[in-house]
């Protein structure tokens, strides 16, 4: 027997770690992976609530999140590839053409 709050706390921790990664990492691909980590954290809480309410819809939300994440990964990585082609770097600090 495990209280469901443990699962929720784990999901919150994963989400927070994702944000931290997004803030401190300077590599485009790693930043993108931190976003995936956040999505995964949220997915865990969806599944937990689906279990709590005995509703299937919570799980279907996760299903949709996965689909969107797949689409996002395809487009995002394509963007990363074209950025790399144009600037030969993946460091976000060097991709600052639009910065004041």
């Amino acid at each position: 027997m495990i209280p469901l709050s443990w699962y929720l706390l784990l999901s919150a921790a994963l989400f927070a770690l994702g944000i931290v990664g997004f803030l401190i990492r300077r590599n485009l691909i790693t930043i993108f992976m931190s976003i995936e980590l956040m999505l995964n954290g949220v997915n865990l809480s969806f599944v937990t609530f689906a279990h709590q309410w005995h509703l299937v819809k919570g799980q279907i939300f996760v299903f949709f999140v996965m689909v969107v994440a797949a689409a996002e990964a395809a487009v995002g990585l394509a963007i990363i590839i074209s950025i790399f082609r144009a600037r030969a770097t993946l460091a976000v600090d060097r991709i600052d053409l639009m910065k004041l």
Binding site: P3, V47, T48, V75
Partner: protein, 169 residues
């Protein structure tokens, strides 16, 4: 039993997530993310979501993360350069993260009768899941397929070489 499994895989999950942040090489980070996703799949299984556990492995660990490693290999991305980083992101970000985490944690811990999970709880069968998905949520499902199509087109358009002499990957 449930407790042992939960502690094992939750620990693995957190360790993977921390490792993702600490590793300097993107491919190590990608592999730690794979560890996180695989152990999350086990946690889904513990919560009775068996189809999602399989989908998590196939879609996340097997497709999305392979794509990441593929791109890392293709671009031959090396170690991350040491830079100063963004001061404002750190200065504003960390307090914000701490605040969010604190709020969420208090809400979760304060909440009454969240219930508990055990191994004897029922498993959501794939049939049940698909019944809801294809009856009540058919339209959103179809719309996501359009989304995927657009994403494919976008990815191909972005990744092909600019002057068009050599199309596609």
């Amino acid at each position: 039993m449930h407790l042992i499994l939960f502690i094992m895989f939750a620990g693995l999950c957190l360790a993977g997530a921390l490792n993702l942040l600490l590793q300097k090489h993107p491919i190590n980070s990608a592999l730690s993310l794979v560890v996180v996703m695989t152990s999350l799949a086990v946690l889904y299984l513990l919560l009775g979501a068996e189809f999602l556990a399989a989908a998590q492995i196939i879609v996340y660990a097997g497709a999305i993360m392979v794509l990441f490693t593929f791109v890392i290999m293709l671009l031959n991305a090396g170690r991350e350069e040491r830079t100063r980083g963004s001061v404002s992101a750190v200065a504003l970000g960390f307090p914000a993260v701490a605040a969010i985490l604190a709020v969420i944690a208090t809400v979760i811990l304060k909440a009454q009768d969240l219930g508990s999970a055990s191994l004897s709880d029922g498993i959501t069968s794939t049939e049940e899941l698909s019944r809801v998905l294809f009856h009540e949520l058919l339209l959103p499902f179809e719309v996501t397929s359009v989304l995927i199509l657009i994403a494919i087109l976008g990815a191909v358009a972005l990744a092909r070489r600019g002057n068009g002499e050599e199309a596609g990957k």
